[in-house]
């Protein structure tokens, strides 16, 4: 099915099931510990051995020699696979560094061996007996240094321009020119990367934890040099990903290699201290923002440049993306520059581009509003645009940023905020409020599904879509129930298996809208098949209450499909609506913080997000996506940073004690408001993404609240107490 004209009325608009805040259908499994994650499949895998991955001890260089003798002789050891013994390996199209290093080492904790043993304890102990001699090479580990040599990336648009930025900025009566930095971030999902691999002849099955099943199949096949059809991925439950499980990673490859060598199934989980340097992370950025405005607050010039680093062959963090679209202004420029760094591989993490970009831009907007003597909300409202400011002939499909900010201000009590920072005290707490816009583009991706209606009236949906906590199981079931007119209890959803039709997968906040649109397409086809079987005109047939009705003839679906039931498969594909209309999601984040005047510790007191993101398919799960993103935004604002040892070239704080993420005590009650909205340009679901919108702008809202509390502006994240302690008021 092709979506190339704006959606009109369709069965989803009934909103009997879709749009309702139903409980997750996988909830009883998750809350009882009976949902099987990657490392937890046992059936038919009784003979599974344990693999333990050894990571490189240096950041860059090569392996001079490896002595496996002691490890091989250790109790329980079955086999050891290294680059030397693994056979020819290619590299996945989506991997920057090789997943199995040697002799070249590209980054710290790059996998160099997997030890397979009868037990986990034996494999782990034996891995420590491997002796590796390295020859270290010099590397580049400091973005601030490497920035000078950064170049325009070639595989993405490096520069954008409209009008004459330089002249307009120079002429602007009110100007801001500031530089901001965001650090490297870890996904730190709770489930480690884990895989069980089993070979049957030349066919490989992987029970794994992966957001993008088809990508995983493709890159595993490419890496091993085997046909795609010989690789099966099964990933029904995923313990968080946030972009860290978009790709084939070392757990899967090392399990596959270990299983091939051991001739039996092998399970591998990356150890937590290894994950931070072995896998991908959100790259650090340095961002320079210049804004020029007239006295009335209208932006006349806006420029945003971002520098980030990655391994050779890697890509930039697209931190200027939102600045091309978010605010009006005749004269504009953006630039991305990429430096080569020998740190672990940078890649997507929740809202790549916009998350760090909004961290900087939305502080800059706050600073500029203050220079203009304007309320930060009014400043944003004045610079709203309903068209793509780089291509004014191209409208936004929907854009309700102003509504989000206005409603949020009302709800949050924004009028009580004093524009003069450092004035509000509550005991030892300096109290402040901050706001930021939320913005994230809406992407649509082709997505397929298979639907089966059986003679008991049960509807089964199969798609390789994944549920990484997003609620895919539930919104897909809601979609199918709505389309076929059956109760939710009659729908079964099976996800995350490469034997199912290829879906959009989970990433870029495209999953919810795209995967349900694919289910919509399959259900349209199923409706036609049912109608045809009954000799009904499918356009006039009404699917409701478990029956299909035409005029006064009503047939239960279980009967209509016949003894063998009906199975159909289809996919939703997209035309050029997303080119003709800019599709984005919008919001407003409101935060109140307290800053301990003694210690400088920051604690968030209140949070509100108002979101306009098309139709909300399930307000309960969508709200969870947003509060989760808000929580991650608090982490980015206040504590999250992969600390680099710039001499040795690695992330030093590589465990969950060293890399702090928010805990319960850091997060207050969070409120989320969704504006009533449908976007007919996005898909027949009229929905858009929301899971990444929720993080974009949060950290800046926190930063702006801290400034409002203290009067001390910090432009380098995270805003830890040491960055403003020396400028807090002296104690009496």
């Amino acid at each position: 099915m092709k979506f190339d004209t704006p959606a009109t009325t369709n069965p989803i608009d009934q909103l009997k099931v879709v749009g309702q805040p139903v409980d997750r259908i996988d909830g009883p499994l998750k809350t009882t510990g009976t949902a099987p994650y990657a490392y937890e499949h046992h059936e038919g895998l009784e003979n599974t051995a344990y693999g333990y991955v050894l990571g490189a001890a240096i950041a860059k260089g090569r392996i001079a020699s490896m002595d496996l003798s002691r490890a091989k002789a250790a109790p329980g050891v079955i086999t050891i696979v290294t680059a030397e013994t693994a056979g020819a390996l290619d590299k996945g199209t989506k991997n920057t560094a090789k997943l199995l290093g040697g002799p070249e080492i590209e980054h710290y904790h790059q996998a160099v061996a997997v030890v397979v043993a009868e037990s986990f304890e034996q494999a782990r102990a034996a891995a420590q007996l491997i002796r590796v001699d390295y020859v270290k090479a010099d590397g580049a580990f400091d973005l601030a240094d490497a920035r000078k040599g950064a170049t325009a990336p070639t595989d993405t648009q490096a520069d954008s321009k409209r009008g004459n930025f330089a002249a307009a900025f120079a002429a602007a009566p009110v100007k801001l020119d500031e530089t901001y930095s965001t650090p490297d971030h870890a996904h730190a999902m709770m489930e480690p990367h884990a895989t069980i691999a089993a070979w049957s002849g030349d066919k490989l099955t992987l029970w794994t934890s992966n957001q993008m099943i088809a990508w995983g199949v493709g890159d595993m096949a490419k890496t091993l040099g085997i046909p795609k059809q010989n690789v099966r991925l099964v990933s029904p439950f995923i313990g968080g990903g946030f972009g860290g499980k978009l790709f084939l990673r070392a757990d899967a490859l090392m399990a596959a290699l270990g299983a091939r060598a051991a001739r039996r199934p092998v399970k591998v989980a990356l150890s937590r201290p290894m994950i931070f340097n072995n896998t991908t992370h959100r790259p650090a950025t340095i961002q320079r923002i210049r804004i020029g405005a007239a006295q009335d607050g209208k932006i006349t010039a806006i420029g945003h440049e971002s520098w980030s680093g990655d391994l050779p062959g890697g890509g930039p963090e697209l931190a200027v993306q939102q600045t091309r679209l978010l605010y009006a202004g005749e004269n504009r420029m953006t630039a991305l520059r990429l430096a080569e760094l020998d740190l672990p591989e940078g890649n997507a993490m929740r809202a790549p581009g916009e998350a760090p970009g909004m961290m900087a831009l939305e502080i800059a907007m706050d600073e500029m509003a203050e220079k203009l003597g304007m309320d930060p909300i009014e400043f944003r409202v004045v610079n709203d645009t309903q068209v793509d400011p780089e291509n004014p002939e191209r409208p936004f499909s929907q854009r309700r940023l102003v509504d989000c900010l206005r409603q949020g201000a009302e709800r949050f009590g924004w009028s009580a905020r004093t524009p003069h920072p450092g004035r509000v005290r509550d005991g030892d707490w300096l109290v402040g409020m901050g706001v930021a816009a939320a913005f994230r583009n809406n992407l649509v991706m082709k997505s397929g599904a298979r639907v089966r209606l059986d003679n008991k009236g049960f509807l089964t949906v199969e798609t390789d879509m994944t549920d990484i906590g997003t609620g895919s199981y539930t919104v897909i079931a809601q979609t199918a129930a709505e389309m076929m007119g059956v109760p939710l209890e009659k729908v079964r959803v099976r996800l995350g298996d490469s034997t199912f039709p290829v879906s959009a997968g989970s990433g870029g906040q495209w999953g919810g809208n795209s995967s349900t649109a694919g289910v919509y397409a399959a259900c349209v086809k199923l409706r036609e098949a049912v109608a045809q079987k009954l000799g009904f005109n499918s356009a006039d047939a009404v699917f409701t209450g478990g029956t299909v009705r035409l005029g006064n003839r009503s047939v239960p679906l279980a009967e209509a499909v016949g003894q063998d039931g009906l199975v159909v498969e289809d996919a939703m594909d997209y035309g050029d609506l997303s080119k003709r209309y800019q599709q984005s999601t919008f919001g407003g984040h409101f935060v109140e913080v307290g800053v301990d005047v003694v210690t400088g510790e920051v604690r968030v007191r209140r949070m509100l997000a108002v979101c306009a993101a098309g139709r909300i398919l399930n307000p309960k799960t969508a709200r969870s996506q947003v509060i989760g993103a808000m929580t991650m935004g608090v982490g980015a604002a206040l504590m999250e940073e992969l600390k680099i040892d710039k001499r040795l070239g690695f992330f030093v704080n590589h465990d969950l004690a060293g890399y702090e993420v928010p805990v319960h005590a850091d997060i207050p009650h969070q409120e989320v408001i969704f504006l009533e909205e449908t976007d007919p340009m996005s898909s027949p679901m009229k929905a858009k993404g929301v899971g990444e919108l929720g993080i974009c702008g949060v950290a800046a809202a926190v930063a702006n609240a801290i400034y409002n509390a203290t009067g001390v502006r910090v432009r380098d994240y995270p805003i830890t107490l040491d960055k403003h302690l020396d400028r807090l008021p002296e104690l009496s």
């Binding site: 420590q128 003694v598 001499r647 030093v652 704080n653 004690a657 805990v663 005590a665 302690l725």
Partner: protein, 316 residues
């Protein structure tokens, strides 16, 4: 984790004797730090002596009006003990500021004192570390040292002791009771229990091989206002950037100990003597010999401010 043999000890003296028989034996009680380190092969005992069955889990009054806390009393139980809450509030507060509910349920009084540093270079066996591998060097010096020591460090090691409880024990003048392999017992003042790193950062306490802590004794209550302030990046479940333990008397005298600043809880009797003269006099003496790195210089103003605030609160 290296393989090890395992036994359950039947009495403290026997446990100490067993430990002396096997050269690479370790006692295990709560295990919350030891197993963490064994998994990384930072600790590699060949034999574990499980002391959990020893009857060292009581909190009892002493003859001189203090409390004798069995070595195996769990952190939760010590913090919740009515006598501790009433008479040694700083100890209860320090315990409750540490770790998580789950860890406090398992971690023991003795184990808490014996916690090893959380220096990330100590935790990464690919890195040089004089504490983990004497003579290999110190990667933290010149590296990422935000959490590290500003006082009493050496050219061999700038690690800090991670315990909150130990800071309170120090301010309360606790005594550590032990039994040695030959069955003899001794009492060690908490001030003498932990060492500064010097040239031998691998030696963290004065305990001898096989010596087992049986109890920690608190002197009779000294009254006063008890305050424990822990400063950290996130609101809970995090180690201290700095912490301040205060016992202040109405007449202006009192005691102060610091956590998160040195290889041991930091208390100077000379600084205590400055209490009647005010916070400035106290912290000037406490921090007189401070040598921060560029990463952790903020700890000095942080201690100064936190201490001033705590002493102001104590005054009421």
């Amino acid at each position: 984790m290296k393989s090890f043999t395992y036994e359950r000890a039947a009495s403290p003296a026997e446990a100490a004797a067993a430990a002396s028989r096997v050269p690479d034996a370790k006692f295990i009680a709560g295990g919350t730090n030891l197993l963490d380190l064994m998994k990384l092969e930072i600790e590699t005992p060949g034999h574990l002596i499980d002391v959990n069955g020893l009857a060292l889990d009581k909190i009892e009054p002493t003859n001189d009006g203090g409390l004798r806390i069995g070595a195996l009393v769990r952190n939760t139980d010590l913090a919740a003990d009515a006598r501790v809450r009433r008479d040694y509030g700083v100890l209860s507060r320090a315990l409750l500021a540490g770790a998580s509910g789950q860890l406090r349920n398992k971690a023991t009084t003795a184990g808490n004192l014996l916690q090893r540093t959380r220096c990330p270079y100590f935790y990464d066996t690919n890195m040089p570390c004089n504490k983990r591998k004497p003579g290999s060097g110190c990667a933290a010096i010149g590296g990422f040292s935000r959490q590290h020591a500003v006082l009493g460090a050496s050219e061999a090691c700038i690690a800090v002791h991670p315990s909150d409880m130990a800071v309170a024990m120090r301010v309360l003048d606790a005594t550590v009771e032990t039994v040695k392999a030959d069955g003899t017992t001794r009492s060690i003042a908490i001030a003498d229990f932990h060492r500064l790193p010097g040239d031998t950062p691998q030696e963290e306490t004065v305990l001898e091989g096989g010596e087992l802590i049986t109890a920690v004794t608190l002197p009779k209550p000294v009254g006063g206002t008890h305050i424990y302030r822990k400063v950290r990046d996130r609101a809970s479940y995090a180690f201290a950037l700095v912490s301040v333990a205060v016992v202040a008397q109405r007449d202006g005298t009192g005691r102060v100990a610091l956590g998160g600043v040195a290889h041991k809880p930091w208390r100077l009797e000379a600084a205590d003597a400055q209490m009647p003269r005010g916070a400035k006099a106290v912290h000037e003496r406490l921090l007189a010999d401070a040598k921060p790195t560029s990463d952790n210089a903020f700890k000095l103003p942080l201690v100064r401010r936190t201490l001033a605030s705590a002493l102001a609160e104590a005054k009421g």
